[in-house]
């Protein structure tokens, strides 16, 4: 964002405030969260619209939150016609023209979720109640996503989920006002299993270590079901406390169990520590059942993988998106993957602005912002119900994941899933993962009813 | 039959015999002093009387009821009040509050969830507390922080806190220890006054013979955890056994 721009905006805002202060004191009352005349919460007044970016700025996921915020700032810049336009150039829908959303200039407020559902809701509520945000987006855990999504449903604004991987977000806790671009545990399992079977054979004994909370449960279940379907056996599943930092006592007995694969259903700091510990134990140098012992991390985050350093080398996992899609590559089995135009545009615009490639969290947040803006434009209204209708069963392309469907039944995006592996010879600190296979969307699609839950009806606010 | 009957009390700490076969009978409305050299077991005995320690053997009866196994607050509710060697008061509270607390304890018992009525509205309690403060000449200090007072005043406050409960028996643990002569004399006068004006039994543990002989009606000499002699003060003064016990210990 160029500085003169900010300054000008500062002048305008002050000017507006003075003007408002001088105006004849008119007293009127109105029911909030309704906005009376407009029929929905926080209907944008004047020539600007405010979005709420609710990301972890303190706590263990602060770096991930910072990357999400960068992506949001970039998206706002592009929506307002700044920069090189990024993925606007490749997005299949062409309603965004650089004049903001529906001709209103996009402004934003930020808040700190602290990766706690209470704090996240407090922050989201302040954006809705104080700053007049019309849409809330962000977050980097499912607990937060589910909590904020429920809040947005109640308040009558749209929630565009950030990084949340649990099935629950668009499963048993789905809400009509909430939408998720990111993939989920089920898709990770479905995408990973065939690749694992191909790489490690169908006669494997898996030992699961699972983070003892909802996301862990759904991920473990997804991986177990999909690998067992291909012939694997699950030897054991041990639940580990969220607050655990040293996993040695969980990893030490793995070899004794006769397992030859260890699945670490952990995310974030848990993943870094459990993987580091597992590699420390030399598990990957061992031969069990005449097979090389292997480790799997179902959900990879490049930012977090960095914390595990060299320990990720050769370890399989899945990811929603990876910047190497921008350049194209050859998978180990010889498939040529051509450079993806959308990814290339995004990586270029993000990389040139910030000096490093975007993470998957940044990507999903950027996409969500664009998707929201486009939906408003197509609906011709900021009314959440109209926006929801526009997003429902919306098919698009050019946002880095190939053709994608926003399924209307559960507000979940369906797109290809990347199976990745820790790179043996990274060229830089960002070059940690290589894409092994792009699992086609058909392979990870499931029936919307299998996770229960009820979307309810959209709520535009009282 | 005395109001306090101690029979065959023994107490061991590890291998150490602190008390053995202590018998003691304190008559109602008398001042009974327990003296003895350091380490004779005076404090241990006192702690057995007030419920802080439970003796290994023997019995302690107060007015026909056993005090053994009862907690300090229960023993207090039976009518025994204790004055400590160094005054134990509520330092952060005002003098008035210090006296009000025992008033409430006397009226409401060991526990009463009296959380709604204001202290300031309890006029009967206030009058009672003011009365005792007047008796000990401290009414002018009623709003002072207790911790800010002189040691002599603290001692008087502690006495007032005990007396306001109208106990049947007052246990004093070296009440003049570490006091200047003038303060000691004041304390003696105060105790004499108490003795004369109230129906009260006093048991006093004391080092200072001046105090003992000014007050006591009867004296028990304790040595090495067991009573040596029990007699009237005038008989104790020249008693050879007592002299032996004290000289043996003394330098």
């Amino acid at each position: 964002m160029s500085k003169s721009d900010i300054s000008r905006r500062g002048v305008l805002r002050t000017g507006a405030a003075v003007g408002a202060g001088l105006a004849t004191p008119t007293i009127f009352t109105s029911q909030v969260w309704g906005g009376g005349h407009t029929g929905f919460t926080n209907a944008p007044q004047g020539d600007t619209v405010t979005l709420g970016f609710n990301v972890p700025q303190s706590g263990a996921y602060a770096d991930e939150g910072a990357d999400e915020l960068r992506a949001y700032e970039l998206a706002v810049e592009h929506l307002n016609g700044g920069g090189d336009g990024g993925m606007l150039n490749t997005f299949s829908s062409k309603t965004i023209d650089g004049t903001g959303i529906l001709g209103k200039k996009v402004e934003y407020v930020t808040g700190d979720t602290q990766t706690k559902s209470d704090a996240a809701r407090a922050s989201a509520r302040s954006m809705i109640e104080k700053d007049g945000a019309i849409m809330i987006t962000g977050g980097s855990s499912s607990g937060v996503a589910v909590a904020v999504q429920a809040l947005c449903q109640e308040a009558g604004v749209i929630f565009m989920a950030g990084l949340t991987h649990s099935n629950d977000t668009t499963g048993k806790d789905k809400k009509a006002n909430g939408f998720r671009h990111f993939f989920n545990s089920y898709m990770s399992g479905a995408a990973l299993a065939p690749v694992l079977a191909k790489a490690y054979g169908t006669d494997r004994k898996a030992y699961h270590l699972t983070a003892d909370y909802n996301w862990g449960y759904t991920t473990q279940e997804a991986v177990q079901t999909s690998t067992e379907a291909l012939g694997w056996e699950t030897v054991n599943n041990v639940l580990t406390p969220l607050t655990q930092t040293d996993f040695s006592s969980y990893i030490a007995p793995v070899l004794q169990s006769g397992a030859d694969v260890l699945v670490l259903n952990h995310y974030g700091g848990n993943m870094v520590n459990s993987l580091t510990n597992a590699v420390q134990f030399g598990l990957r140098d061992k031969m069990v059942n005449d097979k090389n012992f292997e480790i799997i991390v179902p959900l990879y985050s490049r930012l977090m993988a960095k914390g595990a350093g060299a320990n990720v080398k050769g370890i399989f996992g899945s990811t929603n998106w990876h910047w190497s899609l921008a350049q194209g590559f050859t998978t180990p089995d010889g498939t040529e993957v051509a450079p993806d135009a959308g990814s290339a545009a995004f990586v270029k615009s993000f990389g040139e602005k910030y000096g490093f490639p975007p993470s998957q969290a940044a990507h999903t947040c950027y996409c969500q912002t664009l998707l929201y803006a486009d939906a408003v434009n197509r609906a011709g209204s900021f009314n959440p119900c109209a926006v929801g209708e526009a997003l429902k069963d919306f098919e698009f392309d050019g946002l880095g994941n190939g053709p994608t469907l926003y399924r209307g039944d559960d507000h979940q995006c369906f797109k290809d899933v990347l199976v990745v592996r820790g790179k043996e010879n990274p060229t830089s600190e960002f070059d940690l993962l290589e894409v092994v296979e792009v699992t086609p969307v058909s392979q990870v699609t499931y029936d919307a009813s299998i996770f229960g839950g009820d979307l309810g009806t959209c709520n535009p606010g009282a | 039959m005395g109001i306090l009957e101690v029979k065959g009390v023994g107490k061991n700490f590890g291998g150490l015999k602190a008390l053995s076969d202590v018998n003691l009978s304190v008559q109602e409305n008398t001042v009974h002093a327990i003296i003895g050299p350091n380490g004779a077991g005076k404090s241990t005995l006192l702690n057995c009387l007030v419920g802080k320690l439970i003796p290994d053997t023997g019995s302690v009866m107060f007015d026909g009821q056993s005090v053994l196994g009862r907690k300090p607050h229960e023993i207090n509710q039976m009518g025994i009040s204790r004055v400590f060697q160094t005054p134990e008061i509520f330092g952060d509270l005002t003098v008035m509050e210090n006296v009000l607390i025992p008033c409430f304890a006397k009226r409401d018992g060991a526990f009463e969830l009296n959380a709604i009525s204001a202290v300031s509205g309890q006029n009967d309690m206030k009058e009672k507390a003011e009365g005792i403060l007047r008796d000990v000449n401290m009414l002018d200090k009623r709003n002072m922080h207790a911790a800010a007072m002189s040691r002599g005043d603290k001692r008087r406050l502690e006495m007032a806190m005990c007396l306001v409960q109208e106990p049947r028996m007052l246990l004093l643990d070296e009440p003049t220890a570490g006091m200047a002569r003038a303060d000691t004399n004041n304390t003696i006068d105060l105790l004499k006054e108490i003795k004369e004006q109230r129906d009260i039994t006093i048991a006093i543990i004391e080092h200072d013979m001046h105090v003992v002989f000014s007050l006591a009606d009867r004296i028990t000499v304790l040595a090495q955890g067991t009573p040596l002699v029990e007699d009237l003060p005038e008989n104790i003064k020249g008693h050879p056994k007592v002299r032996e016990a004290y000289l043996g210990e003394a330098h």
Partner: protein
């Protein structure tokens, strides 16, 4: 049988970290009577000494590699550490590889400085203040320290690997006649255990066999008396604070390879270390060490799959259950003294 052996081994190793942190905490509490909530932050600072040294050793200049491209398609800029230029690539690599053990030397003066500054600048003024004030001010300090670290190093964990020589694990099973691979344990963790034992022994020897130590022990037992003897105990207590800081710092330095350091690792250990200290008995050094190992072993047992099947979730609460049980049966912890911290 082998499973139990393995968990005992594991518990000893876990316990050695607990014991080291609790030891430092107890030193400060026992000598200065200060409840130091910033002790976990000292542990974290130690770990970041290792990170910093690694950063210093890998200070690099960029060399453009025309044959490869970076994420934007531009020629790749490869970082070449200055150490390579000075020592050559092989020796340079070796130095970087050994940065964690080297950080022991690097961290000692830093931790002494931090400890000294903390005691003289802040803690000293809180000797006479209520414990609640001490807790609050040191808690505030802990937040400040970790936020400063976060500002410079980010929130994500930073990998600080052990020297390659310590990679992999040692097969105890084979040595003891069990099947191979049943009882294996990483070399670095064994190093950590040995290191912890040396530090603990050194602290005890220092307190036991030097006059300085004797005075400090006397001060721990009865501060007033020692003061009456005309010994300037305060100066010695400053030294003890610095020593405690060094113990915490060294525990942190060596912990880096076990769990990649992040800015909140101190807070993660804070509650646990207080539980350890209290279970051991406030102010008792042997108690702290004993409780550290005890809790380490029990935690390891509680994480066994067989145990979890019978008692799901026991691994979540075992530490606290033990703390409650011990405090109810042994009012002052395993080896605590009467009257310490009871008001």
């Amino acid at each position: 049988m082998d499973a139990i052996l393995l968990q005992i081994l594991n518990g000893l190793d876990k316990g050695s970290a607990y014991a080291l942190i609790a030891l430092g905490l107890t030193l400060i509490f026992g000598t200065l009577g200060v409840v130091n909530f910033a002790h976990g932050a000292l542990f974290m600072l130690g770990a970041f000494c290792a990170v910093t040294l690694n950063r210093i050793l890998t200070l690099s200049h960029e060399v453009v590699d025309e044959t490869r491209t970076d994420f934007l398609g531009n020629p790749l800029k490869v970082d070449v550490p200055y150490v390579y230029d000075i020592l050559g690539e092989a020796a340079g690599n070796a130095v970087i590889d050994w940065s964690v053990p080297l950080a022991i030397l690097f961290s000692i003066p830093i931790m002494i400085g931090v400890g000294y500054a903390m005691e003289r600048g802040l803690i000293k003024h809180f000797y006479k203040r209520p414990h609640a004030d001490q807790i609050l001010v040191t808690f505030g300090l802990a937040i400040v320290l970790q936020e400063i670290i976060k500002y410079f190093f980010g929130a994500n964990p930073i990998p600080t690997p052990a020297p390659a020589a310590f990679a992999g694990s040692f097969d105890f099973g084979a040595m003891l006649g069990f099947d191979p691979n049943t009882i294996i344990y990483p070399y670095w963790r064994l190093v950590y255990f040995a290191f912890a034992m040396i530090i603990i022994a050194a602290v005890f020897a220092f307190l036991q066999f030097t006059t300085f130590g004797m005075v400090v022990r006397a001060g721990m037992a009865d501060r007033e008396t020692v003061g009456l003897l005309g010994i300037d105990i305060d100066k010695r207590f400053t030294v003890m604070f610095a020593i405690a800081a060094v113990v915490a710092g060294l525990a942190g330095v060596m912990y880096g390879p076990i769990n990649a350091p992040n800015y909140h690792m101190g807070m993660d250990f804070l509650v646990l270390s207080f539980v350890v200290v209290v279970v051991g008995g406030m102010g008792s050094l042997p108690g702290a060490v004993l409780a550290g190992f005890l809790l380490g072993i029990l935690e390891s047992f509680a994480s066994m799959a067989g145990v979890l099947e019978v008692l799901p979730g026991i691994n979540q609460i075992i530490i606290y259950l033990v703390a409650i049980t011990i405090l109810l049966t042994r009012p002052r912890g395993l080896m605590g003294r009467k009257g310490v911290m009871e008001d």
